[in-house]
């Protein structure tokens, strides 16, 4: 193996990830061709479904909101060297916090209930992520395994709480009592005609604020420095006087709080009640979003938008082209994780040959 050649910055942060995403989509396209469908037609329908009309665009932004929060929850932890596969469970448990305060304050105007839901969602999400953080920091249990296990524990625990405790006697399906319309997170269609019939709500702006806040936290705060130091070299961080255990636990709690905002968007903004398995994979999409976005808020925003468009467009696709089901999106998601995450350096050697310093030098000679 040759030593890693430094690439020009734009190649490293833009071209390489872009090529990886293109590769993922190409292979996805080949799969679509293999089952006898036209991938270009599919892309056209998806683009129209995602951006072509108001309520489609509203749905895209609604999914994007979820994916920004979940993507940030994975990214933030990753900067501290922690692979958080738990946003799915963290968001699910946060749903409990959101519904409890919302039902407690039921009937109050939204400007009172929404901040309460945000705080409760953050606290419950943070608590659920804190336990794996504590186990990693103090007991050395591997965070990947514990966050996976906590996803499963969340499913069982929430299943019991929703179906046996929160479910009102007169309701048939497994869900909590509803939140009054005035107490829900306001939807943007109240202010913009464009978004009629779509669920995008003010959580979207919360997501944009979270992007900026996470950027500031990681690169412009003292704690962010400690986090990155831990992520790069735990031994060096310890010698620099950083308490690694403390940083791990706080980082995981913050990640869980971010994941918890998925519940504000969903439970507080759209469903208006806590339903079984409401997260339905958004937490896992966060893993793809984080790797595709290289853990940077700008990258996270762009890849969350891409996945938001894929989810909404995929919905549209299932109507227009019955040969293609929504699961094709999960396949694309997998390919994106594979090519931008696990095989992210596959295209590096050829790029090094084109853009590396040696190539530059020989070009200078000629």
């Amino acid at each position: 193996m040759s030593a890693r050649v430094p690439l020009p910055r734009w190649v490293d942060i833009a071209l390489l990830p872009l090529l990886n995403v293109v590769l993922a989509f190409l292979i996805g396209g080949i799969v679509v061709v293999m089952v006898g469908q036209n991938p270009l037609e599919a892309v056209g329908i998806m683009l129209y479904g995602a951006f072509g009309y108001g309520s489609g665009f509203g749905y895209t932004l609604y999914y994007t909101t979820d994916f920004i929060f979940a993507g940030l929850a994975v990214s933030l932890a990753y900067h501290a060297g922690l692979f958080n596969i738990g946003p799915e469970g963290q968001a699910y448990v946060a749903g409990l916090g959101v519904i409890l305060v919302a039902l407690g304050l039921n009937g109050q105007p939204w400007f009172l209930t929404v901040p309460a839901m945000v705080v409760a969602g953050a606290v419950f999400g943070a608590a659920w992520a804190f336990i794996p953080g504590y186990l990693q920091a103090k007991r050395g249990s591997h965070i990947v395994i514990t966050t996976i296990l906590f996803n499963f524990i969340a499913v069982s625990m929430m299943g019991y709480i929703i179906s046996k405790i929160l479910k009102p006697a007169n309701v048939g399906s497994d869900e909590s009592a509803p939140i009054d319309a005035v107490s829900r997170v306001p939807q943007l269609r109240l202010f913009w005609e464009l978004f009629k019939n779509s669920p995008v709500n003010i959580s979207f702006f919360l997501a944009l604020i979270a992007l900026v806040a996470v950027y500031w936290l990681i690169w412009h705060s003292k704690f962010g420095f400690a986090m990155r130091a831990l992520g790069h070299n735990p031994t060096a961080a310890r010698y620099a006087g950083i308490s690694n255990a403390k940083v791990i636990m706080i980082t995981m709690a913050l990640a869980g709080a971010l994941a918890g905002m998925v519940a504000v968007n969903n439970v507080g903004g759209v469903q208006g009640r806590l339903i079984l398995n409401f997260v339905s994979g958004a937490g896992f999409v966060g893993v793809a979003v984080a790797f595709m976005g290289k853990g940077h808020p700008i990258g996270v925003a762009l890849s969350a938008l891409l996945f938001g468009a894929l989810y909404q467009g995929g919905q549209e696709l299932a109507f227009s082209m019955p040969g293609i089901t929504r699961e094709m999106i999960v396949t694309i998601q997998a390919l994106v994780i594979l090519f931008t995450g696990a095989m992210g350096d596959m295209l590096r050697p050829p790029l090094e040959r084109i853009f590396g310093p040696r190539a530059q030098a020989s070009a200078g000679d000629a």
Partner: protein, 324 residues
């Protein structure tokens, strides 16, 4: 008294049935993790091979070709995992996560495109499945008290893949602790550099481990769809790959404890069905979720070091780079 005994035999019998895919997946994970490759992708491989087996059996009418396809799918997925984590030195956890999503997405997508049954494959019957094998004298001994039931219900009447799973345990123990290959396998997971210095190829050894992993988990997936059930349905692995991973940690990466743990987790699974609606004195009904959650809770408690210590092979998860 006799009633309780029959009940016990029935619960143990379903324990065995539910434990088989866990045993196969757990042993599969054991080979790759002992060789230093973390395999979060067991879940996806189980699901992928279950689909491959059922689809092939449905089309060709042969359970054996189904088995071949099931193992083939697992081999293909292992190859991706190998390229990502051995050749490209990528992050093994990410690769495994990607494989899990890939299987979840592709099986449903292809299933719907090929069979148009909402992700299900056609119902299988006869030669398309692995049927129960009646061991010699099982019917004759069935009426003998105590051992009769034990033999004819619990030991006899499983399919060939189930027996293969149980045989795989002593074989794995022997390979791992009594052969040269096993010694090297354990060494490559603890200290790959030492092996490299001795002139043994780390890459080759890790690929060999991944191949064994694929064969075992492929048999496990095949068992799910064409032995235990009569066809594939959406997400039918239902977290068993993760449970197997938990069992592997719980068993501290050793074959016999792995068998015991998988049987324990299978027993909890069987109990969960059995206890539905049963009223206990003082406690009342035990919620299903409380039993569902036990394997995960037990593994967390173990991982936290409250009951012994689970120490993974030292080099697991770390790509090996030769120095220049």
């Amino acid at each position: 008294m006799m009633g309780y005994y029959t009940d016990l035999i029935l619960i143990l019998d379903s324990t065995v049935r539910l434990a088989i895919p866990l045993i196969l997946a757990c042993l599969a994970g054991l080979y790759s993790e002992r060789a230093g490759i973390v395999d979060i992708g067991l879940e996806g491989k189980l699901l992928g091979s279950a689909f491959g087996a059922a689809a092939t059996a449905a089309v060709t009418g042969s359970a054996w070709l189904g088995l071949l396809a099931g193992v083939g799918v697992a081999l293909g997925m292992s190859a991706i995992h190998g390229i990502a984590s051995i050749n490209l030195k990528g992050n093994q956890t990410i690769s495994g996560v990607a494989l899990n999503f890939l299987a979840a997405g592709l099986t449903t997508f292809l299933g719907q495109s090929w069979f148009h049954r909402g992700g299900f494959t056609p119902q299988l019957s006869g030669d398309q499945r692995f049927g129960p094998i009646t061991l010699p004298f099982a019917p004759e001994l069935a009426n003998v008290p105590v051992i009769g039931g034990l033999y004819s219900e619990l030991i006899s009447g499983h399919n060939i893949l189930a027996y293969a799973a149980f045989i795989a345990v002593p074989v794995t123990a022997w390979v791992l602790f009594s052969t040269r290959f096993g010694l090297r396998l354990r060494a490559v997971g603890e200290n790959p550099k030492a092996l490299d210095t001795a002139g043994i190829s780390v890459t080759r050894l890790r690929y060999q481990a991944l191949i064994i992993t694929a064969v075992l988990v492929g048999v496990g997936g095949t068992y799910l769809s064409i032995a235990q059930s009569a066809g594939f349905n959406n997400n039918m692995s239902a977290g068993r790959g993760y449970i197997a991973l938990a069992a592997l940690i719980f068993a501290k990466w050793k074959p016999w404890p792995a068998l015991a743990t998988c049987l324990l987790f299978g027993f909890l699974d069987a109990l969960q069905f059995r206890l539905q609606g049963v009223q206990f004195p003082y406690i009342g009904e035990v919620p299903v979720q409380a039993i569902q959650v036990l394997p995960y809770l037990l593994t967390i408690i173990l991982l936290a070091g409250f009951i012994g210590r689970a120490v993974a092979p030292k080099a697991s998860g770390i790509p090996y780079t030769k120095e220049r």
